[in-house]
């Protein structure tokens, strides 16, 4: 059992963040391009993408109890898959779909090998397979462009032939696309974790031996969770090529796998919104520290160490501990009955 220090259980996260606040946030995000410059839009897109990446990761860690250090491999599959497709068919939707599907298939195959193992071996395996993908991306020049990567990827228009075509060359337009896709992904994730499947995953996390006695075949559920996490990583990766116009091997490196890990740790492993809050914090902290010193990793590392020892619940747990009683008084509980 993952020890927690006074952190609420995931199912309780809803109902604590008042709906009004959420709506205000969403409206704010939609209005953003009208009063900020390109840099902030760019950063917001990266935060949204990392949110999706981290949510998928946390399905494995927070909900199922599996720590994966190889999610960047699937992110890269999504990125390269999308890029290759865009270079052939310059249309946004096929590119994204191609990336996501590719990542999902690879996740399914590798997941089959990984989930049969205990937690330590699982973490090591995911790390190694992520690096396997990295080594392929790096060496397989003909397919992936080697360490130069793929360049010149167009920010293709969002179109359904014959019905509509929206030009994406302005950053603002692509921002809205990324925003809508990410919001949809977050909503879908919410449905998944509040479904019977989501509850079963948490049961697997809490007691693998007991859940077997509820008639659950643990390996199957883990594989499905792993695949979903891979799909989410793939989606995050697929949103990247049209934004950056290049994809390079470091996207698959394990240091990139660390990003969703850090974001989730920062924001809170055992809450729904943790990874999202953490993605935001991650970029903010990075941005702030980098202004003062180029050595921002050491600060990040120190924060990680401090969090693990002092506050394993992440930032959100502070929020929940203090604010919760107040919110409970003011707003009705989320529906569960």
């Amino acid at each position: 059992m993952i020890e927690h220090k006074g952190v609420s259980v995931i199912g309780r996260a809803y109902g604590k963040i008042p709906t009004l606040l959420l709506l205000a946030l969403i409206v704010f995000l939609f209005l953003l391009p009208h009063f900020v410059g390109k840099y902030v839009m760019y950063m917001t897109m990266h935060i949204l993408v990392l949110s999706v990446f981290a949510l998928g990761f946390n399905l494995l860690l927070g909900y199922t109890g599996l720590l994966s250090f190889g999610q960047a491999g699937f992110y890269a599959c999504g990125a390269y898959g999308c890029a290759k497709m865009l270079l052939v068919i310059p249309s946004l939707l096929p590119g994204i779909i191609c990336g996501v599907l590719f990542a999902g298939i690879i996740a399914l195959i590798l997941g089959f090998l990984c989930i049969r193992h205990t937690r330590i071996y699982f973490a090591m395996l995911t790390l190694c397979f992520g690096m396997m993908i990295y080594s392929l991306a790096w060496k397989w020049r003909t397919m992936t462009g080697g360490d130069d990567g793929l360049v010149g990827i167009p920010r293709a228009p969002l179109e359904i032939p014959g019905i509509f075509s929206i030009n994406m060359s302005s950053l603002g337009n692509y921002y809205y696309f990324v925003l809508i896709v990410c919001l949809l992904a977050i909503i879908l994730f919410y449905r998944i974790v509040n479904s019977p499947f989501g509850l079963t995953l948490q049961g697997i996390r809490d007691s693998e031996s007991r859940i077997a006695f509820a008639g659950i075949s643990v390996k199957n559920y883990r594989l499905i969770a792993f695949t979903i996490a891979g799909l989410y990583a793939g989606l995050a990766g697929a949103l990247l090529p049209p934004l950056e116009s290049t994809v390079t091997p470091p996207l698959a490196h394990w240091t990139h796998s660390a990003e969703p890990v850090l974001a989730t740790l920062l924001g809170g492993i055992h809450s729904f919104a943790g990874p999202i809050a953490g993605a935001f914090l991650y970029y903010v902290i990075k941005d702030i520290i980098v202004r003062f010193t180029e050595y921002w990793l050491i600060w990040l590392g120190a924060i990680v160490v401090a969090l693990v020892i002092g506050l394993p619940g992440g930032i959100v747990s502070i929020f929940e501990k203090r604010l919760v009683p107040w919110i409970r008084l003011r707003f009705a509980q989320g529906s569960r009955r």
Partner: protein, 285 residues
């Protein structure tokens, strides 16, 4: 044919570095139950320390190695005593996260102290040159490495089988509670074992300096390989670590020779195969 044999020898010398790192990793896991993600960083620190002592200060090669071991062992002491100790009761993910935090810290600390460029250490004079083996010149230093690796293997075996400390380690590895019950001072044991593991990693790093570049981030590559070796050999199993290292080292060397594009990939394939057939590793339970 001679080419293959030669390359096998190259692989063997490669294997010895892996063995040194994997040995430390697996001992620490076996006794403390902690998988130290930052083990590769300790390797890197060992390389940097050794390089600094004999490459920059001109201190005797052997002394530099010894100093490097002491230095990294001290780092290990601080890591274990002040940080790892707090998370023994926590689940595996938290251990990995904590030690991962240390990777970040060490990587930047190294950059801050020595700069971000890679450095090429000099080869000590008595090891320069090569002798012909299988018709091709084989660097003397590599022979030394092979010897050193085997020496460490024998040394470790002797320590574990014949010394009092070694016996306690073996007892604690198989049953920690029992060991504590019969009066073994667990905290001190943990600290010394961790320092020992760190020293092994540092030895690997220090010995690698004459033939490898010294740069931030070499720890990352090395930890991956160490993981592959321990997965193949079986976590917590020294014999497995040695055999696994030899397999990975030799296969990497052959991979470089025969399938240059995919030599890294081959290792992972081998690991995947081992996992499918015998998930606990070749020697694991």
């Amino acid at each position: 044919m001679e080419n293959l044999a030669f390359q096998g020898l190259v692989g063997l010398s490669l294997a010895m570095y892996l063995w040194l790192i994997a040995a430390g990793l697996t001992i620490v896991f076996g006794v403390l139950g902690i998988l130290n993600f930052a083990h590769g960083s300790l390797f890197m620190l060992g390389a940097y320390f050794a390089f600094t002592f004999y490459g920059l200060f001109g201190i005797n090669f052997w002394l530099s190695i010894l100093l490097s071991l002491i230095g990294v062992a001290l780092v290990g002491l601080i890591m274990e005593r002040f940080f790892l100790r707090h998370i023994y009761h926590l689940d595996v993910p938290y251990q990995l996260l904590l030690t991962f935090g240390f990777i970040l810290i060490f990587d930047d600390a190294v950059k801050m102290t020595w700069g971000g460029v890679f450095m090429i250490p000099p080869m000590p004079e008595f090891f320069t040159g090569a002798i012909p083996i299988f018709g091709r010149p084989f660097p003397i230093y590599n022979l030394f490495i092979i010897g050193a690796g085997i020496g460490v293997a024998i040394g470790l075996w002797l320590i574990l089988e014949r010394t009092w400390w070694g016996r306690i380690i073996r007892a604690s590895a198989s049953d920690r509670e029992m060991a504590g019950a019969i009066g073994v001072n667990i905290p001190i044991l943990f600290t010394t074992v961790f320092m020992f593991g760190a020293a092994l990693a540092a030895l690997g790093g220090a010995l690698s300096t004459p033939v490898r570049v010294v740069a931030p981030g070499i720890g990352g590559a090395v930890i991956i390989q160490a993981f592959v070796v321990t997965v193949i050999g079986g976590l917590g199993n020294l014999k497995g670590a040695f055999v696994g290292a030899v397999i990975v080292g030799v296969l990497t060397a052959y991979g470089i020779l025969l399938f240059p594009i995919f030599e890294l990939f081959i290792i992972f394939v081998v690991m995947a195969v081992v996992l499918l057939l015998k998930p606990e590793g070749l020697f694991g339970e």
